[in-house]
Symmetry: C2
């Protein structure tokens, strides 16, 4: 298996350290209990005023929902996402449930958190997740008859990891690339924006 | 300690099951190694095109940064957030780094994911996190001289859990309330939006 462990100064949780977003999935289906857990993890994510502004459309390989989600993907993502046993359309509710007629300014943020919770549970269950913004959200909204309050935000591929050798040559190369992040000295500030917090002056890249 | 375990059909990871957002923190400071880990966890979160559209401003109780973040909170949050040893202003980059001049449509979603990663690491380290959208983002941008590409999105309180008895009576009551989520049958669909996926027909509330 490809090792893409995060390089950190302090040891982080193994689920976060070992997680990455592969393009090659195996043909193995996901067990129902694990599928249920993915969404239970997402559902117990926090959200502003507990609005829970997320909904998911779940497609399993071979069913019509999967095919419809797949059809909305940009060509580049179609190249590889076809190997994933599960595709999930992640939708956000733009309006508040508790304050009718008001928009929910953090719905995208809260949806992202819910999907992070889903992916944390997936990693712990030996699954891998690859999130995509490269799909046609308008077409997805039409295909699934989203109500006016909801927008489609991402498509998420989930499955067991597969053999990179089956991928298109360009994608195969990407599969072996190391994960990279900018230095934390460029991310964590104190005093004013851009002023590195002293804890992060000598952070590893 | 208050038990607010998530009620699920399938067992989810203990970090997700036991996580909740308290208002009473203890006076105990957070160790530096744990603080570093929080941000390393956030930094290794995924993001669209690996844009990493997040920056954090870290305030520790007693320093000027903490006070400035605190001053931006709405009065309700000031009531309790003063017990937290750490306050973090979470900022999102609205524009793409890789495609100059273009906006990044998923910056809020990706920022939410990064903060979720921070909160998993916190939970695993025995810390609790309470995220807030109730603060003055315009004032925060001014106080910390955010560059034009960035907006302040949330303030996050982090610390060890404290005794609810120190809280204002109204808040104390909330501290003991159970965590609640809607039924997954109202969240996970297949076929079309609103059509419950068969896996979730009899989900627990």
């Amino acid at each position: 298996m490809i090792n893409k462990q995060a390089i950190t100064k302090e040891e982080i949780h193994p689920v976060l350290k070992n997680r990455w977003s592969p393009r090659a999935f195996s043909g193995e289906a996901i067990e129902n209990a694990k599928l249920v857990r993915l969404f239970e993890a997402a559902q117990w994510s926090p959200s502003a005023s507990n609005e829970q502004p997320w909904s998911f459309i779940l497609g399993s390989k071979g069913d019509e929902t999967y095919q419809k989600i797949y059809d909305t993907l940009v060509e580049f993502n179609q190249l590889w996402a076809k190997t994933a046993p599960v595709l999930i359309l992640c939708c956000g509710r733009t309006t508040s449930v508790k304050n009718a007629g008001k928009t929910n300014p953090t719905f995208m943020y809260d949806l992202g958190q819910a999907v992070a919770h889903l992916s944390f549970q997936a990693s712990d269950d030996g699954l891998f997740v690859h999130q995509m913004a490269g799909f046609n959200a308008v077409s997805a909204a039409e295909l699934f008859s989203l109500t006016a309050d909801f927008v489609a935000v991402t498509v998420v591929a989930v499955g067991y990891i597969g053999d990179p050798e089956v991928l298109h040559p360009n994608l195969k190369k990407m599969e072996y690339n190391p994960r990279e992040r900018r230095d934390l000295s460029e991310t964590v500030f104190s005093g004013s924006f851009g002023e590195t917090n002293t804890l992060f002056v000598n952070s590893p890249k």
